[in-house]
Point group: C2
């Protein structure tokens, strides 16, 4: 049986393993420091499709199929899939997965989607509803840019606090039992809105949500940051990471040793002109399903706390003068079985 | 422990009760046949707010607060809330619930959202992750119309197959134990896309998804349609309901006695000029949390199968010539404890 810890956390009661994972990344991401961790690097932004949106759907379909294949399973073995993305009506997911025939739960968590999907996919196994589940998300620079900001042809300038939407997707297949890595704890975020209205500073808007969820996780579990080999938020970028680390430091949590952010990891800061770093659902998804999982399999990390962050506003709410509600969900992943 | 039945259904293992429910409806809905079942009827479309979007957020906040109040609980008692809506980035939910401080899972299931949220909220209780959960969704004619179709001022004409987006919201609070009505079975839909491209015939696009999920439910549970006092889809409208009944009839399921659709129930067909009936997340949500729950409490219905249907396309995919992927999720609700 799972155990409720404090107000926001559950400790899973069973062994819930991450059985397989897969990523696809865009060309720019494929030129970055995590290049060697991506399974597939797209040569160009439409990836053979007639639109960027269709390319993003293909990205989701590809990573799910690859993750299922690499687990030695078939699509029919997956009891439920959780999916979402940044596009209006989450069309990356619904069009990407419509042919797969897997019972489908659509999510909207903005850039927190990977942690949201991983949370629910793990809980449905732990609760005895499923033996195998999957979670997937994606983002695409070109689809996001024209939907949230301006036509690409416009060539709008960006302030230094702006982040670059990652072209990437990541999928995980989860299983009851297995040899790990295991999902052990889930801390579900509350919406936090500190009044930030600058859509070119999403890291600043989201940092307090990350802090809220991290502090809830530490309080609920009794763990301190040094329990983890890696605490990784995603995607606060350089601006948000600094704010989060400072706020946590002020509250007595030392984040100086093992804390990083997917938005800071995916691009080379000085060379790749991504300003404050990467963003988008695909940022934390492709870092988790690429770098983090592969390094966990090698033994580099034993305990990882994955904290995906999302900004829940829309262009309409910005035009209506509203601020940016944000959320972060944390998932603790361990090489050690929670039963051991 | 829950029990998996067939490919898409789980039977819950515990008593998971619907503890309370609340609705708000727009003026047109308040003039319809279900008028007396709505808790609150808005006098005008902005409901005292500066925009229709802010009004929709207020609708979600109101029904959640009212449902929590009427259960005799406080917001802090709710372990998780599942919420979504039709607006880009689901801002009805994120802005509506941002002040409530409840661990939040954002959903995107289009008009299937109420069944999706009810499914997951029930499973988290049944799995031992929560004692109290909530699910909420909403739609608003004015926010949906200008986002999906045309500015209201344009006054575009509608073909007879078009549905009218309901202005309404519904919320449920669920609890472990309790006196019922109980959520007993959950059949999770797969995405179905039969190639319909006409966004003015969403009922036609969604009917095959409803049929797919209903047939899965009957096959998985061994129940036939006559097990239920009421089988209610939402929101296929008059066109989609007829298609669904015919397709099910062709496959040997007699839907002639106890089948209705929320989109057909919420407006007076001839007098209210809603063409093919109601649609929108708020349609099935307000019918479930108003009419259906209140009649269950009175004893009119003992066993209800609630099957909310969603069309997962976007204006962008329509412009790109794509068809309309659809989904339906079924939730069986009974006055009788599954343990009895």
């Amino acid at each position: 049986m799972p155990e409720r810890l404090g107000k926001q956390t559950v400790a899973l009661g069973k062994d819930v393993s991450i059985l397989s994972f897969s990523t696809v990344a865009g060309r720019k991401e494929g030129e970055g420091p995590l290049s060697s961790y991506f399974d597939t690097i797209m040569e160009e932004a439409t990836w053979g499709e007639k639109s960027w949106e269709k390319a993003e759907s293909k990205m989701q379909k590809t990573v799910v199929q690859n993750a299922v294949d690499s687990a030695g399973l078939t699509l029919g073995d997956i009891n439920y899939i959780f999916a979402g993305d940044l596009l209006n009506q989450c069309i990356g997911s619904s069009f990407g997965l419509r042919e797969l025939g897997i019972p489908f739960f659509g999510l909207y968590g903005a850039c927190s989607t990977m942690a949201e999907g991983l949370s629910l996919a793990s809980m449905l196994i732990d609760g005895g509803f499923a033996q195998k589940t999957a979670a997937v998300t994606s983002s695409h620079f070109c689809t996001a840019e024209r939907q949230y900001r301006n036509p690409l042809e416009y060539g709008g300038q960006r302030p230094p606090t702006a982040q670059w939407t990652v072209t990437g997707a990541g999928a995980l297949v989860l299983s009851e039992g297995g040899k790990g890595p295991y999902v052990t704890h889930i801390t579900t975020g509350k919406i936090v809105d500190m009044g930030v209205k600058d859509a070119n500073n999403m890291g600043g808007a989201m940092a307090p949500a990350a802090v809220s969820t991290l502090e809830a996780h530490f309080n609920d579990t009794g763990r301190s940051p040094d329990f983890y080999d890696l605490i990784v938020t995603g995607d606060l970028g350089f601006v948000g990471r600094e704010i989060a680390a400072e706020l946590l430091g002020n509250d007595g949590y030392d984040m100086s040793k093992n804390y990083n952010d997917c938005g800071c990891m995916i691009f080379e800061r000085k060379k790749q002109d991504a300003h404050a770093g990467g963003s988008g659902c695909g940022c934390s998804a492709s870092v988790l399903c690429g770098y983090i999982m592969k390094e966990m399999m090698k033994g580099t990390f034993c305990n990882v706390l994955f904290v995906a962050t999302g900004a829940l506003m829309s262009p309409t709410t910005l035009l209506q003068g509203d601020s940016i509600p944000s959320i972060a969900h944390a998932v603790a992943i361990s090489a050690n079985s929670p039963k051991s």
